[in-house]
């Protein structure tokens, strides 16, 4: 008996070794497979980042004057007292926080109700999702038109003077609100789809036993569904936080940073530094700061929300 078992065991070991040899033998092939992906990845991302953005950030380099000199950390020191940049940073944070919170709450609520017993779910979900798949730059134009032409018309029609006389793009406050509205409108669909998927992974029996124990309504949502949805919340926060720092298209198309540069996100600030003022070195230092901020915030967020995930 013992001998027989050994024989079987040996065969398994031998087979595993054979398979391992199979992978070892083809190791070169597998390495080659990575090359094309790595090549385009390097061209698009690695080389510009490590061979461009980071080294340029230590240069004083203006394209108009053509001067290029190594100045060490001077760009970063200058950045500390650059009020324009910090204004952009704060504006970006402000719009980001409102957009992240607003679109996640709305996305969850929509997903929740669209997961209930209703008809034509597919069609209705599509109606909320479509704004997400249309170019942000282009729909921003239609929103400008809605704010400047349609809103006053609606205000006049329903006799609401307040709405008719708002100058949507005249003051920093109003312009910021329009940008938040459009950003939330654009992001909700995507988050809704992910929340829907998350809700569908919660086992029915968990919900049923909660119901039997007398847990229902808002309490059920907050105490049972939301904790079970933490993995979904993790991904949605990741998507919306990194999206918030990449904000460019909507403000660019709607306000172009105005009035008086009050609605300029960090990405647009970098764009202007580089492509209208031609300060490549200084712009690169700003780029490094943007990248480090996004990396730090998203990694902290992943760490924090991961810890809150529960098992069922």
């Amino acid at each position: 008996m013992i001998q027989k078992k050994d024989a079987v065991g040996n065969r398994e070991v031998r087979e595993r070794r054979d398979m391992s040899i199979l992978y070892k033998k083809n190791r070169k092939f597998y390495l080659m497979l990575i090359l094309p992906a790595l090549a385009v990845y390097a061209l698009a991302l690695l080389v510009p980042m490590f061979g461009g953005t980071i080294p340029y950030s230590f240069l004083k380099w203006n394209l108009m004057t053509g001067k290029k000199a190594f100045i060490g950390l001077d760009n970063y020191i200058k950045l500390f007292s650059d009020t324009g940049f910090w204004k952009s940073f704060l504006f970006n944070l402000e719009v980001g926080v409102f957009t992240i919170v607003g679109s996640n709450i709305l996305g969850f609520v929509l997903a929740y109700f669209l997961n209930e017993n209703i008809k034509a779910k597919g069609v209705i979900r599509a109606m909320f999702f479509i704004p997400n798949i249309v170019s942000a730059v282009l729909v921003s134009f239609i929103w400008v038109f809605i704010f400047t032409c349609a809103m006053p018309a609606i205000g006049a029609a329903i006799g609401w003077e307040g709405l008719a006389n708002v100058s949507w793009f005249g003051t920093p406050g109003m312009a910021t609100i329009t940008i938040i509205v459009v950003s939330v409108w654009q992001n909700v669909g995507f988050l809704m789809i992910i929340y829907t998927a998350g809700l569908q992974t919660i086992p029915k029996d968990v919900m049923e036993s909660a119901q039997l124990d007398g847990c229902s309504g808002l309490k059920k949502v907050l105490k049972i569904e939301l904790p079970l949805l933490m993995p979904t919340v993790t991904i949605n926060l990741f998507v919306s936080i990194s999206g918030a720092f990449k904000m460019f298209d909507i403000p660019n198309a709607m306000t172009a940073g105005g009035p008086y540069g009050s609605t300029m996100p960090v990405a647009m600030n970098i764009y202007q530094e580089a492509f209208t003022k031609y300060n490549l070195g200084y712009g690169s230092a700003k780029s490094v700061v943007l990248f480090l901020t996004v990396a730090a915030v998203t990694l902290i967020q992943l760490y924090v929300t991961r810890k809150k995930e529960v098992e069922y």
């Binding site: 597998y30 497979l33 992906a37 080389v47 209930e116 998927a197 998350g198 490549l280």
Partner: protein, 272 residues
């Protein structure tokens, strides 16, 4: 009981209409004359006016810019899907540290905002004389979206039992054939999702072609419509016609691949 189903349905449907209103308005107004649009922005068109489309097609050189966009988009979809799949396949088969390092490298790429490398890319492309080249744009998109592609494929490939490949190898199937004919069909739904996402991200992108393509003959659709706005601020009607045309392929693809978009996004999200 029946009432309970229909009331929420109607409420959600109406909310959906409100939500979709900007896009509905856009399409509705594309079929109005300029004056009609300014005066009756919110009403349905009294009759379908196609003048905006014919004029936009002519002024924007629509077929040319749509052709450029299509070339870049289709090129990116194919190149990025193939390189991502091969890369992910390689990574998931390399044992030890190197595979993990490569996986991490691609995963981290997802958090790099394009705006933090746009200056460097602009300098490097100028130095290499690669500006105004649609194929370079394809490679850049493939690299940029590839981070997500590799990450997603690796997640799916991990769930495929190794025995399958081993059995294929014992039956005398070469590694290359095994990859394309045994494994690739198994991740078909992932591939469709990625193709759709790559389509959306490329077709809709504005900043990259705006920065790296200045030649009017190589302009993409998004940039062409944007140019329309800055060149002639008052010609909203022509812009709306252009916008409507740019939305058509998006809606078609969405309807065709709705099932895959939802399931694919979901699976990717859960894996993360």
């Amino acid at each position: 009981m029946k009432k309970k189903i229909w009331l929420p349905t109607i409420i959600m449907f109406l909310l959906g209409i409100v939500f979709l209103m900007p896009i509905l308005l856009l399409v509705m107004n594309a079929f109005k004359t300029h004056n009609d649009m300014i005066q009756n922005f919110l009403s349905f068109p009294h009759y379908l006016y196609f003048g905006n489309f014919t004029e936009a097609i002519e002024r924007m050189k629509l077929w040319m810019v749509v052709g450029n966009s299509a070339l870049v988009t289709v090129g990116t979809m194919l190149l990025c899907t193939v390189t991502s799949f091969m890369g992910a396949y390689g990574i998931s088969h390399i044992e030890g540290k190197f595979g993990n390092i490569m996986y991490l490298l691609f995963t981290l790429g997802q958090i790099v905002p394009f705006h933090s490398i746009m200056i460097a890319l602009s300098v490097q492309l100028t130095n290499m004389k690669l500006l105004n080249n649609l194929l370079v744009l394809v490679c850049l998109y493939a690299g940029f979206h590839g981070a997500f592609g590799v990450f997603t494929y690796v997640g799916f490939l991990k769930s495929i039992p190794k025995e399958l490949e081993e059995a294929a190898a014992i039956d005398g199937c070469g590694v290359f054939r095994c990859m394309w004919q045994v494994i690739f069909p198994l991740v078909r739904s992932t591939s469709v999702t990625l193709l759709v996402l790559f389509f959306l991200w490329t077709w809709n992108d504005f900043l990259m072609p705006n920065l790296y393509i200045s030649d009017g003959a190589k302009r993409t659709l998004t940039v062409a419509i944007y140019m329309f706005k800055s060149a002639s601020g008052s010609e909203w009607n022509l812009m709306l016609a252009g916008l409507t045309i740019s939305i058509i392929p998006i809606v078609i693809i969405y309807i065709a691949a709705q099932k895959y978009i939802t399931s694919g996004l979901t699976a990717g999200a859960v894996k993360m």
